[in-house]
């Protein structure tokens, strides 16, 4: 990558900007009608591959002695199912648990794209394909994380209304958590409003922030590697260290995102 840097003679800010620019194409008029093709294609591709693999195993699942692949899938299945069982008390198998599995595996796969070395991928894969800008990690795109969090948010409201009825939901907005005295009703509503706004924001920004920061640190280390031989050595060592540490972050953030999804959806099922 040092050679690439030297050839193109990029300044550090140009290098970082280059790597943090989405492959954004207009799909209509106005600044909103843009589609980040890199985020969308990478995430759909990962979703298809990961869930397709799981489906392939699940389709041939046997109640007898499981194959190694099935045992592995069942391990993930039981892990997610146990988490959901501890939080959600209801018929989790109809929706909540499969949703949790989807969220966990999909987010994990998208986060794991952070392990792809940015410059190598650009130099050998994306650039030859004619893609000047292509970001590998869909979860370092606020659109992706916010889309997931917002979908969960809508599901939250949907289940609130489904379980408690529309009246029950409105009642809950005004009568919890501080009590039913007349003068605390506006306070209750304000509190719930803040909660409803903060939930999707914290849900999405936590994941986005972690993955974005991880990517930026890789870029900074890559930049350091461009400064000379000692920079290359230390950059490589630190890059390896950060990659190893990042395994934890990738898995942890996927887990946290799944747990919050389950917690929010099960909170929507409970009456206060």
């Amino acid at each position: 990558m040092a050679i690439e840097q030297a050839e193109k003679a990029l300044t550090p800010s140009e290098y970082i900007t280059h790597h943090l620019t989405f492959n954004s194409q207009p799909v209509g008029d106005g600044s909103f009608w843009m589609l980040n093709y890199d985020s969308f294609i990478m995430s759909v591709l990962l979703g298809v591959v990961v869930m397709g693999l799981i489906w392939w195993v699940a389709r041939g699942a046997t109640a007898g002695v499981p194959s190694k692949g099935q045992a592995f899938v069942e391990l993930i299945f039981s892990f997610v199912d146990d988490q959901v069982k501890n939080i959600f008390h209801g018929n989790r198998h109809s929706f909540i648990a499969p949703t949790a599995l989807t969220v966990f595996l999909w987010v994990l796969a998208m986060n794991a794209m952070d392990f792809l070395p940015v410059d190598v991928m650009h130099h050998f894969v994306y650039a030859p394909l004619g893609l000047e800008h292509w970001r590998s990690v869909p979860t370092s795109d606020i659109n992706t994380t916010f889309a997931l969090a917002l979908a969960v948010w809508f599901l939250m409201i949907f289940f609130s209304i489904k379980v408690k009825g529309f009246g029950g939901w409105i009642h809950e907005l005004f009568y919890t958590p501080f009590g039913t005295k007349f003068w605390v009703l506006p306070l209750n509503f304000l509190f719930n409003l803040i909660e409803y706004v903060s939930k999707p924001l914290s849900h999405s920004l936590r994941l986005f922030g972690n993955m974005y920061a991880g990517e930026v640190i890789f870029l900074l280390l890559g930049m350091w590697a461009a400064t000379g031989i000692s920079g290359t050595i230390f950059g490589a060592i630190l890059g390896a260290g950060w990659s190893i540490f990042h395994i934890l972050i990738v898995a942890l953030q996927a887990f946290i995102f799944m747990m919050l999804t389950v917690v929010y959806l099960s909170m929507a099922h409970e009456s206060h």
Binding site: W33, W55, R59, A61, Q70, P98, L101, A147, A151
Partner: protein, 156 residues
């Protein structure tokens, strides 16, 4: 960093993935795992049942064995009793039979004795007659006898 149409596209992708998982991925895995769990639970229960059945069978066999032993000793006792009874009976029978035979023999002997006596008696009379005849023949004296006879005849 801008919010754009990607948000909607990703939300749709998310919804499709959830639908796919709910519909096609979760149910077969769940059913496979639950079926296996049930099979294992059934197997364990069956093993437990088998173990208790074995205990019951062991107890039963022990009881049967004890009963059989008791019965055998009873039978042996009975057989011994019966055996001695038979021996006693045989002794009694032998004794009575012996007595009967003895009595028969005695009676026969008596009979034989009587018969011999009768024979002897008849022979004794014949002998007496023969003896008498011999004596008479020797003692006969024609003169005396003719005198006696002439006297007898004279008396007539």
């Amino acid at each position: 960093m801008n919010i754009n149409f990607t948000l909607i596209a990703q939300a749709i992708a998310f919804a499709v993935l959830i639908w796919f998982t709910v519909k096609f991925v979760w149910p077969p895995l769940l059913s496979a795992i639950e079926t296996r769990q049930k099979e294992i639970a059934d197997g364990l229960a069956a093993a437990q049942e088998g173990r208790s059945a074995l205990d019951v069978a062991a107890k039963k066999s022990e009881a049967t064995l004890a009963e059989a032993k008791q019965k055998a000793s009873e039978i042996i006792g009975q057989a011994e009793k019966r055996g001695s009874q038979i021996v006693e009976e045989a002794k009694d029978n032998a004794r009575t039979e012996g007595e009967r035979i003895l009595a028969g023999a005695k009676a026969e002997i008596d009979q034989e004795v009587n018969r011999a006596k009768e024979g002897l008696r008849s022979q004794v009379s014949a002998l007496a007659i023969a003896g008498a005849e011999k004596i008479l023949r020797k003692e006969i004296d024609a003169k005396a006898h003719s005198e006696m006879l002439s006297k007898l005849a004279a008396e007539l």
